[in-house]
């Protein structure tokens, strides 16, 4: 017992928090990458997450393509679609107020979700975890479902990999520099419009990757993204808009805080992230990891 709570219950909720945090981190990372360079608040992020899960489902049911291939193919497909959207539509809005980008992606999200709801209905569809990841491991104090453990590990690998790519590679240096002064970077001979397209595609692909990971955990539903995206926006605000490290750390941290709240004060578990967001906005408007903090 810890603070009157059985260890098994505490660990169970911690795990749930860590799994939710894994999705928060992946999704907020994608949002932060996009906002950092494009200055677009990508409201279509939830729809791209849902699209990732649906493409995995369709690959399985229509093409017989299994989870492992879907984990690679689905983000690639969503990234490609996002690149087309950025090139043909979103890029036309960069010279306008940021509000237009937000409105465009909001409309895009509604169009994608509406289309999927029309064809697949609002109820969720099951997606079985791969055979290699079924079952659970007895940790002594609790049973850990193997697939949920995989979600945490996969999310950590992708988040750390993305962070390393941004912090340690030449491409990442271009991204960071272009975030500060895109015109100057372009004057160095870097194709910044292409960099913008790739960044939007990367952000969307991260959302789709999270969607494929989520498919066996939650039902694959047209509304799965819109249910999550508001929480993810709160995570990004707490971490600091555009902060890559902030998005990752805050994603996991708020997932765990939410899980612990379910143990100690369940009534507040649905609002705790927003309460933290409000406090952070008042005390550190740039977020915990934001530049002006």
């Amino acid at each position: 017992m810890i603070f009157g709570v059985p260890l098994q219950a505490l660990m169970g909720q911690l795990l749930v928090g860590l799994i939710n945090g894994s999705f928060y981190a992946l999704l907020s990372l994608g949002l932060a990458v996009i906002f950092g360079l494009l200055r677009v608040i990508n409201f279509a992020h939830g729809a791209q997450y849902m699209l990732g899960a649906f493409i995995a489902l369709l690959l399985l049911t229509v093409g017989g393509i299994n989870y492992w291939f879907a984990l690679i193919l689905s983000p690639l497909i969503v990234g490609l679609l996002a690149a087309v959207v950025e090139r043909t539509m979103l890029s036309r809005l960069y010279k306008l107020d940021h509000l237009y980008g937000l409105l465009f992606t909001f409309g895009l999200a509604l169009a994608i979700e509406g289309t999927f709801r029309y064809f697949f209905g609002a109820s969720g569809k099951p997606y079985a975890p791969p055979a290699q990841l079924t079952g659970a491991v007895n940790l002594g104090f609790m049973f850990l479902p193997i697939y949920r453990g995989w979600v945490v590990i996969a999310s950590l690998i992708v988040c750390i990999g993305t962070w390393l790519m941004i912090e340690k590679t030449k491409l990442g240096a271009y991204l960071r520099a272009a975030t500060e002064n895109p015109t100057l970077v372009q004057s160095f001979g870097v194709n910044v419009p292409l960099l913008l397209t790739l960044t939007y595609a990367l952000g969307a692909a991260l959302a789709a990757f999270a969607g494929v990971l989520a498919a066996p955990v939650y039902q694959v539903s047209p509304l799965m993204g819109s249910n999550l995206i508001i929480v993810v926006f709160a995570v990004v605000v707490v971490g600091g808009m555009g902060s890559i490290l902030g998005a990752i750390v805050t994603g996991y941290m708020l997932g765990v805080v939410e899980g612990l709240t379910k143990v100690f004060y369940p009534e507040a578990s649905n609002i705790v992230i927003f309460v933290i967001m409000a406090i952070v906005l008042v005390l550190r408007p740039a977020g915990l990891f934001g530049k002006d903090a």
Binding site: R176, F188, V190
Partner: protein, 234 residues
């Protein structure tokens, strides 16, 4: 001097609806260092930004190494061999000194090696792992110049490199420019510090209200002093 490397004729440019360059004519021979003089707001910086392609609302003719640059997109201007060092230096806060130095892609052979750059700017070597914006103003100016020298650019567009710097740093930058000249680098220098420019430039243009109103070689400088006094207040 060799043939013309950069040839600008009847260049007009606009900021929105505001017509700011009114038919600029200038040329730079290969290996030459020219200096554009003029008071604040006369269009010197705008001329460089327009040649570079940062300011896109423009008309006229810009030829670089015989290539028409008017329709070339900004990211391809650098690849043609033009390098721009802005007045505000543009050092990236999230990048270290070395990351800043290595950021611009190499556009041609013949650029300085990192060792050569560190020999030319020893301060940068000492502070290679510091964040770029932790450097002093003079060091930031050196870094801004150094990162273009590494790329193999044939022509350097240098905007007010001495702005806001201490005399000892200005002298160091002057020494660097003389070394660049010895290496055969072509430079278009925009400068308000006329005395500094007189030590390094081969030829001068005087700019007024978006036009070049005079052109003279450094040897004619004594004869032009009255005009410079009235135009620049020096």
């Amino acid at each position: 001097m060799n043939g013309r490397l950069l040839d600008v004729s009847d260049l007009h440019a606009w900021y929105g609806e505001s017509h700011v360059l009114h038919g600029v004519n200038l040329h730079v021979n290969e290996g030459e260092m020219i200096c554009i003089l003029g008071r604040n707001g006369m269009g010197k910086t705008t001329t460089l930004r327009t040649i570079m392609g940062i300011l896109r609302k423009r008309q006229g003719k810009i030829a670089f190494a015989g290539q028409d640059m008017m329709s070339v997109p900004l990211h391809k201007t650098a690849r043609a061999g033009l390098g721009f060092v802005p007045e505000e230096r543009g050092i990236f806060a999230t990048l270290s000194v070395e990351e800043n130095l290595m950021l611009p892609p190499q556009v041609a052979d013949g650029g300085m090696s990192v060792d050569e750059i560190y020999a030319l700017f020893p301060n940068l070597k000492e502070r290679r792992n510091s964040p770029g914006t932790k450097l002093s103003g003079g060091e930031q100016q050196m870094l801004a110049m150094a990162r273009i020298l590494r790329t193999g650019a044939r022509c350097l567009l240098l905007d007010e490199p001495t702005e806001g710097l201490a005399p000892v740093i200005i002298q160091a930058i002057g020494d660097v420019l003389k070394k660049l000249k010895q290496r055969g680098m072509t430079v278009v220098l925009v400068e308000q510090n006329f005395r500094f420019a007189a030590k390094v430039a081969d030829r001068f243009y005087l700019m007024d209200h978006g036009q070049m109103i005079a052109e003279f070689p450094v040897a004619d400088l004594p004869r032009q002093m009255d005009m410079l006094h009235s135009e620049l207040g020096v």
